[in-house]
Amino acid sequence: MSGSSAVSIRNISKSFGRGASAVRVLDDVSVEIGEREFFTLLGPSGCGKTTLLRLIAGFELADRGVIAIGGQDLTQTPPFRRPVNTVFQSYALFPHLTVEQNVGFALEEQGMARDKIRSRVGEALEMVRMHSFARRRPSELSGGQQQRVALARALAPRPQVLLLDEPLSALDLKLRKEMQIELKQLQAEAGITFLFVTHDQEEALTLSDRVAVMQGGHILQMGPPREIYEAPTHRFVADFIGDINLLEAEALPGDQLRIGQGVTLPMAHGKAGAVTLAIRPERARLTAPGAGTLDATLIHSAYLGTALLHKLELPGGGTFLLRQSEVAQTPLESGSRVGLALPADALRVLDQ
């Protein structure tokens, strides 16, 4: 990632509808996406991901804010003059044109010479391994093949930025995993900035250089997958991505946290009053009773092959998930008392 921004979104707001029925879909969103970055917008249905993508493509105009691509302000520019291409969720391949004609569509619009178009189309189809389907119609292709053609069509004009709106969501799991790998390779090969939209957290973590987690028209947290996973700053982010244990706690002066029933543990928190503590199931450890941070009761254990997943009951009520990777140990009886160690470096203090 170089220092310059491929896409720069500053204070974008967008509402649909007028007057009293207006709904604000994006609220003061700002993002900087670097050159050649694989950037992912992740969030639940209806949080505004598609809307943000459509604003960048130019299909919608923002109520407020600035969109710049490659350093140029394109906030008011129509879509056909923006150096970005979109891979639509529905693919939107032109049904009346062949695969070849679909992929060459943009090149023709750019006024490229015929033989140059032919070789470019060939290259693009080669890249997605669809060259043997050049003469077919989109209706004669499977979902995965259509997806590849859509990708080739968007990549053929070599845009500065490729926008992908849940391009893999229509594919079955196996094909999806394959396409994820291919997508990542393609991006590296083509050297193009990818702005990817998904509501699949695993997909986001696997593919991205950086992830922005959205909710209700806001970006809650933005950062590399590792940071999003290991150091969530919001309760929503922690909850949305992977399994996590959330504990209600009280921040005490002198860098102490009280976790119910008089258990305190030392931790720098910089807050006061009620807070939420988060810890991933794999970061907590089982100890002998009394030797951990607190004691709990085992409800049951599930064998996962490479790990054991324990479900524990905490003294204050509430359950706790713990993932133990040393499976070799003697199994624990349901109902037995265990100690629960919560390493301070694995605990996160969250914003509500």
Partner: protein, 257 residues
């Protein structure tokens, strides 16, 4: 409950079919009658078909009808296409526009025909083919509009967005994507408008001038001179053409996207 289980559904259906189609069937059968008197059967022949091919009045009327139907269908389809495109996307008063466009389906044709005649006379417009084309275009619009509208409605907006995303401006998007995808609907609309104009009697009757008789008007005046199997033959030809064109239109509007 299944309607097919009602007693006598079959018999009733057959009766309705007979009611609808027996007159037409009789007309068609007697067009192959050799006898001069249309209602007395002697033996089968194609004489009358030969006759209508060589009858100069029928030839002239056919030419007039075709010119009129082509011109009116082109005019009506153009208007209908523009109206459908203009009202397709989140257009606030689409209902009102459609009501106005579809008015010819509701208004009594005789009233409109008389009104048009009076207007043309008042304005000094000469009656004849030109006047007929103007009037036919107007009442053919809804027939052209409905298939185009349906096609447009079923067309995903994302194709046009994809075209714009791939650097086609609005005009190029229309030419390379919208128009080709709408084409079956446009043809279906054109065909329906064409048939509607071809079959029209009332408006043509009021507005035709000397030498601009159309086929339906010719049939009407010929009948006053007595029913001959010749009329059966022309009517059969018109019937076949209409059925073929309407089927074509139906087929076109059901074409896959």
């Amino acid at each position: 409950m299944n309607i097919r289980r009602f007693p006598m559904t079959r018999e009733v259906s057959l009766l309705v079919l007979a009611y609808l189609y027996v007159p037409v069937l009789v007309l068609v059968v007697y067009s192959f009658n050799a006898n001069r008197t249309a209602t007395i059967w002697s033996h089968a022949s194609l004489d009358w078909y030969g006759r209508i091919l060589t009858n100069p009045s029928i030839q002239a009327a056919t030419v007039n009808s075709l010119i009129l139907a082509f011109a009116a269908a082109i005019g009506a389809t153009t208007f209908a296409l523009l109206a459908a495109l203009a009202t397709s996307r989140a257009f606030p008063r689409r209902g009102a526009v459609e009501a106005v466009l579809n008015m010819p389906l509701i208004l009594p044709e005789i009233v409109v025909a008389v009104a048009t005649l009076m207007l043309f006379v008042a304005l000094g417009v000469q009656l004849g083919l030109g006047a007929m084309i103007l009037a036919h275009t107007a009442f053919c619009i809804p027939f052209a509009y409905l298939p185009i509208r349906a096609r447009l409605e079923g067309m995903s907006r994302s194709y046009e967005e994809a075209a714009q995303d791939l650097y086609a401006n609005r005009f190029r998007t229309f030419r390379r994507v919208t128009l080709p995808l709408l084409w079956p609907g446009i043809l279906a609309g054109f065909t329906l408008a064409f048939v509607t104009s071809l079959d029209d009697f009332l408006t043509s009757f009021f507005l035709s001038g000397p030498g601009t008789t159309t086929l339906p008007v010719y049939i009407f005046s010929a009948i006053r001179a007595g029913i001959t199997p010749e009329i059966n033959a022309i009517s059969t030809v018109m019937l076949v053409i209409s059925v073929l064109l309407v089927s074509l239109s139906f087929f076109l509007s059901r074409l896959r996207r």
